[in-house]
């Protein structure tokens, strides 16, 4: 393996590799490809990744308590950064003491995995694949795909340049998205989904126990598909009300600003507004078991 490999796991190795000790500062760098892949793994604390114009990956920050393991490796087009606290108990780790800042070429493909670390990404224009067990994820989307996945953390993403694509999923957390997105998938089990979207073509939104609150402008032929079990759905879409609506709630109510009359499902419980509006207009489909639905235009 070419490049630099620095591993610290105990005093002997630390002395051998001249690596950082627990609670110490680190400041290391390695040359990188302008459009290569950067793989970062951080267990706890706070991780900030920023894109910059240099063809170099630099890692700086403070290592937390325990017996930290630090690795910075380049292998061809790929750079690997690992900051692992080797404590056996995650609960015993002090999240506040590990603060890592990683600077990467702005067009890098980014792959980040954290356990309990909160993640902030800014200025990375390449694709992003971000995963966390219980940390929050916050990032910017430019024009490439962003995939963010968590089990117990919140996800926030801001679109910056051209319409981007994003796939966001958490189990216990909220999802917040703002900016131009062409295609967006957002799902959570327990948490709200709050969106302010420009120029959307396709959105699939799903929360089990949470609310969906969407403000959006849509492209022609756009589709929005929103589902909840126990949560309200509030949509404020476009500015002319030219929409095709297909709405249904089992035990909630439906309100709209377009004058359509809500009906009871024929021969069944629930209320619905089935397939009303221009068939060629953007299509809005909403389903909920116990939530209210409200659809309006700005």
């Amino acid at each position: 393996m070419s490049g630099i490999r620095i591993v610290t796991a105990g005093a002997a190795l630390m002395a051998l590799a001249a690596g950082p000790a627990a609670g110490q500062s680190i400041n290391r760098g390695v040359d990188a490809s302008a459009m290569g892949e950067v793989v970062i793994s951080v267990s706890v604390g706070n991780l900030t990744v920023r894109g910059w114009e240099q063809t170099r990956v630099e890692v700086a920050g403070e290592l937390g308590a325990g017996m930290p393991e630090f690795e910075l490796t380049r292998n061809g087009e790929q750079v690997i950064v690992r900051v692992i606290t080797a404590s056996e108990s995650v609960e015993q780790r002090d999240r506040g003491r590990t603060d890592i800042y990683v600077s990467v070429p702005s067009d890098s493909r980014l792959v980040v995995t954290t356990s309990s670390a909160d993640l902030l990404v800014a200025g990375v224009h390449g694709t992003q694949s971000l995963r966390s067990v219980s940390g929050d994820i916050e990032t910017e989307a430019w024009s490439a795909l962003v995939e963010a996945e968590s089990v117990g953390g919140d996800i926030g993403i801001s679109g910056r340049e051209g319409p981007a694509n994003a796939m966001l999923s958490t189990v216990n957390g909220e999802i917040e998205v703002r900016g131009p997105f062409e295609r967006l998938v957002a799902s959570t089990v327990s948490g709200d989904i709050e969106l302010d979207i420009l120029d959307a073509t396709s959105m699939q939104l799903n929360t089990t126990n949470g609310e969906i609150d969407l403000r959006a402008t849509l492209r022609d032929q756009a589709t929005i598909d929103a589902e909840t079990i126990n949560g309200d759905v509030e949509l404020e879409i476009g500015d002319d009300g030219n929409l095709h609506l297909d709405l249904g709630t089992f035990s909630g109510r439906i309100e709209n600003c377009f004058g359509y009359e809500v009906t009871r499902s024929p021969g069944a419980s629930g209320r619905e507004l089935r397939n009303v509006g221009d068939a060629d207009a953007p299509r809005i489909r909403v389903r909920t078991l116990n939530g209210d639905i409200e659809v309006c235009s700005s």
């Binding site: 793994s41 267990s43 966390s132 216990n172 589902e227 069944a268 078991l289």
Partner: protein, 172 residues
């Protein structure tokens, strides 16, 4: 009801209506009753039975435990357990149980909330099944049941995928 029964019922109602509704005992009977019960003093105001936390805590724990067990291991008589149309629902406990190895790798606080979420997901599923039992042809409920089924499957895959990838990269 026959005509004879109707006459009897009417006469009975008339006798009831004629009863005096303002009759009170000629004396307060309670002191005598109390004396016969062991001469315990009669309180000025009847005391409400006090709620004792220690007395009811084990009952609460048992009920909560039973609820969780029923959530994770639904019994055959539970709503939506029978019938060929419910094969997907019958599979759901297995789906959730299959997440247990991944859950065991999570930090305790995350494991607690995710376990609660998954249990809630299944309860929602059962709620939809119960509603479908009363309204079997409701297309909305059928759509929601399909959504809940897909959601349970995708959550299972997500929990397994994230924990596996993090364990490989970091060792949770």
């Amino acid at each position: 009801m026959t005509e004879r029964q109707n006459r009897h019922a009417s006469a009975f109602e008339q006798r009831i209506a004629a009863l005096d509704r303002e009759i009170h005992p000629e004396r307060d009977l309670w002191p005598g009753i109390a004396a016969r019960l062991g001469r315990r003093p009669v309180p000025d105001h009847p005391r409400r039975r006090q709620w004792r936390f220690s007395q009811w805590f084990p009952v609460g724990v048992a009920l909560a435990g039973g609820y969780l067990l029923a959530s994770w291991f639904p019994l055959p008589w539970m709503p939506g357990r029978a019938g060929p149309d419910n094969q997907a629902v019958q599979a759901s406990p297995a789906l959730l149980r299959s997440v247990q190895p991944a859950l065991a790798q999570l930090p305790a606080n995350t494991r607690a909330v995710v376990t609660s979420d998954l249990s809630g997901l299944e309860q929602d599923w059962l709620s939809i099944e119960a509603a479908l039992a009363a309204d079997p042809d409701n297309p909305l409920l059928r759509e929601l049941r399909q959504t809940a089924e897909n959601r349970a499957q995708s959550v299972r895959e997500q929990v397994n995928r994230v924990t596996a990838s993090v364990a490989e990269a970091i060792a949770i």
